[in-house]
């Protein structure tokens, strides 16, 4: 008797059909939510003149708890019926995809875009000297030929500074910023996505690059174009230096040690006042030049080409520099993936013990990934320094590392286009919705957790094998199983 009762109770909780069980479950969830919120969300500390006071926020918290109850109840009651809805949605999705390809798929999209771009240029909607927007057409044609959305994004990126409505503010705070994070994401993707090493101190190499350029320019008067490779080499050197002793460690130890290194570099930057200027940072960092032409009012770029001087020229120039740097990162990564070292990285990510058994030098392989990633971080850092004209240790906190890691994780580790999309959504999204800035990190954190729970392979989870016999087929991320290392 008791056994049957217990069994039926178990069945009820498993299938969650009975109304009573559903209500009880929802009530438990609400009680837990209440205890979670109890002091820390319900009361807020407020500084008064004499001492700290508390202000209560009972109404909001009670509404939240009620929402948890209702939401959980609805979920419990609707869960058994959801599969039908899901099938319907999947059916609609297939129909939409069929319709999309019936109309020509990406080819049509590219075609329309080419017509629009050419039309815009010819109709003179854009001012007469902006013939450069034609440069978006190249990638569109290649993309049409190869039918790949990557080229569409490239065309949009090339076209962006000349698009109608792209003001100085948008190019600087949206375009350049997003591309910096795309580049950092791609750089970290080599370490995390390809080699499977969790690096929580990536911002250290970004800082090394930025300070390398700033200090070399200030103390030795070197120009941006000389310092850019130097910054990359220095960052890679630091990567080797830091990586060599710790890369023998297990994955999670490595994460903590890299985090500690990131913090050490920041603390040294703050405290080594005679070299780095301490918390005040370095200011007056020179701007980059175009073959010696400066972007200034008199005798600069605008005079040389006989154009009206605007500060927009410099911003657009910076935009194309970072776009080129980001594309370089991408191109090098795609090329390296085909080399033995790149294939060793990916093998290492999948199963370290198998790699060792096959005679791959694990430490050297990890070290090359670490150094390559660090080098691109250094490039991005040098660009950041020249773009800002001022750097301080404030810009290189752990949060920066966390944002870059979130981009890589959400983009799907190892997927280049996924990282670019994630950077666009996360950085661009928060730039557009400025008023939600306070909640930005909260959303990032929740997204990281949700992503790992529901779609552990990222938003773009398919993977094309780097090398295959015959044609390379895209496979779903769920087919890949990783070993332990």
């Amino acid at each position: 008797m008791a056994v049957t009762a217990a069994r039926s109770g178990q069945a009820a909780t498993e299938v969650r059909t009975g109304i009573g069980a559903a209500v009880a479950d929802a009530a438990i969830a609400a009680v837990i939510a209440f205890f979670l919120a109890m002091p820390i969300l319900t009361y807020k500390t407020v500084e008064q003149v004499t001492s700290l006071q508390v202000v209560s926020r009972w109404p909001q918290v009670l509404v939240g708890v009620a929402a948890v109850f209702v939401g959980r109840l609805a979920l419990n009651l609707l869960w058994p019926h959801l599969s039908g809805v899901r099938e319907r949605l999947a059916w609609i999705g297939t129909k939409l995809r069929d319709a999309f390809f019936a109309m020509g798929g990406w080819r049509t999209v590219y075609g329309v875009l080419i017509v629009v771009a050419v039309g815009c240029s010819i109709a003179g909607q854009l001012s007469h000297n902006r013939w450069l927007d034609l440069l978006a057409i190249g990638p569109l044609i290649i993309g049409m030929w190869r039918r790949s959305p990557m080229w569409l994004l490239l065309a949009l990126a090339l076209f962006f500074p000349f698009a109608p409505g792209a003001t100085r503010y948008y190019v600087e705070n949206f375009g350049i910023l997003v591309l910096i994070y795309v580049m950092l994401g791609w750089g970290l993707n080599i370490v995390v996505g390809l080699a499977g090493l969790l690096d929580l101190g990536y911002v250290a190499f970004y800082a090394v690059g930025a300070y390398a350029y700033a200090l070399l320019a200030q103390n030795f008067g070197l120009s941006f174009w000389i310092c850019l490779p130097l910054a990359g080499i220095l960052a890679a050197f630091w990567g080797v230096l830091l990586g060599f002793p710790v890369l023998r460690l297990r994955g999670d130890y490595l994460a903590i040690v890299t985090l500690a290194f990131g913090e050490i570099i920041r603390i040294v930057l703050i405290n080594w006042q005679s070299l780095t200027g301490g918390p005040n940072g370095v200011s007056g960092i020179p701007r980059p030049t175009l073959f010696g032409l400066q972007f200034k009012a008199e005798g600069g770029f605008a005079d040389y080409f006989g154009l009206q001087y605007t500060s927009l020229h410099r911003i657009i120039f910076l935009y194309y520099i970072i776009l080129a740097l980001a594309l370089l990162t991408n191109w090098v990564t795609l090329r390296l993936r085909r080399l033995p070292v790149g294939r060793a990285w990916e093998a290492l990510r999948e199963d370290e013990i198998a790699c060792r058994s096959l005679g791959i030098n694990v430490t050297n392989t990890k070290l090359t990934a670490f150094a390559t990633g660090a080098m691109f971080g250094g490039f991005a850092g040098a660009f950041f320094a020249t773009k800002q004209g001022f750097i301080s240790p404030e810009s290189f906190t752990f949060w920066e590392s966390a944002i870059i890691l979130a981009i890589v994780v959400l983009g799907g580790m190892g997927s280049q286009i996924g990282v670019a999309v994630a950077a666009l959504v996360m950085i661009g999204g928060t730039e557009v919705f400025r008023e939600f800035e306070t909640y930005r990190m909260l959303v990032f954190g929740l997204a990281m957790v949700g992503m790992m729970v529901w779609r552990p392979r990222g938003m773009v989870s398919g993977r094309v094998p780097s090398i295959a016999l015959g044609e390379a087929h895209r496979i779903g991320g769920d087919l890949i199983e990783e070993g332990h290392g």
Binding site: I40, L442, L446, M452, P456, H484
Partner: protein, 311 residues
Amino acid sequence: MEYFVQQLINGITLGSIYGLIAIGYTMVYGIIGMINFAHGDVFMVGSFIALLLFLLIGLTAATPLIIIVLAIIGVLLVAMALTAVWGWAVERLAYRPLRGSFRLAPLITAIGMSIVLSNMVQISQGARVKNLPPDIKDRLSGGFAVMEHDGFAAVVSYRQLIIVCVTIALMTLFTWIITSTPLGRAQRACEQDRTMAALTGVDVDRTISLTFVIGAALAAVAGVMFLVYYGAIDFYIGFVAGIKAFTAAVLGGIGSLPGAMLGGLLIGLIEVFWAGYVGSEYKDVAAFSILAIVLIFRPEGLLGRPEIEKV
């Protein structure tokens, strides 16, 4: 000499706090083999809960000492309970769904959870440093000199005494739980082989949940201690204290409970002596460098066993 003794006392106090946090890291690592990156932030949440409870009780300068002592005990217990709910929720939401996922997944959710917790506190409580009301702080300020020479005395304050006593009591209780209760036995079984433990009737999910609950409760104790000792907290304390406590766990040998306590004491002493004799600018660098040095030369720690890799 007095200066040295004073630093020693301060170091042991700080080390007790680190040790309490380190136990949470070491237990979770022992049982599921992951670094609970959010543990430092659970400590911070516990500290904030305690601060709010102190403010809600509303002690004044006129409150008798016995009431204040009772209030501290009460706050300690309630904060432990409420923080334990947070520990449970973190495990349930972020780690349990990932059993059997690939190896970086739980670490990434742990970082996500850490970001969520610290930002939640930052948004709900504000980013500024919060001070414990002076009424409570001043009443606990006294102490007694253990050594006096040339007008400089090494003083043990009542706060330090409370912290060390509570830590010793909890460590004793905790060692007893692990060695002689059914829960402790289940935990040790899961630590050795989770599948086998499940086959012999151990409820693995429940054991892991309880491990997180105990870890969070101990972190809450550390949070209350931190609040009473320093009298000022902000949303960022969990990050730095978390790394240092993790360093302590690694130094002592991760997975080993006496190791966590020993590591905590060592890290506390090193930090205090470094700040006292070398300079406080680089005291965090000292702790972080020790982490790197230990991991490079003796990854199994002082009291840990070398890890055997299984395929």
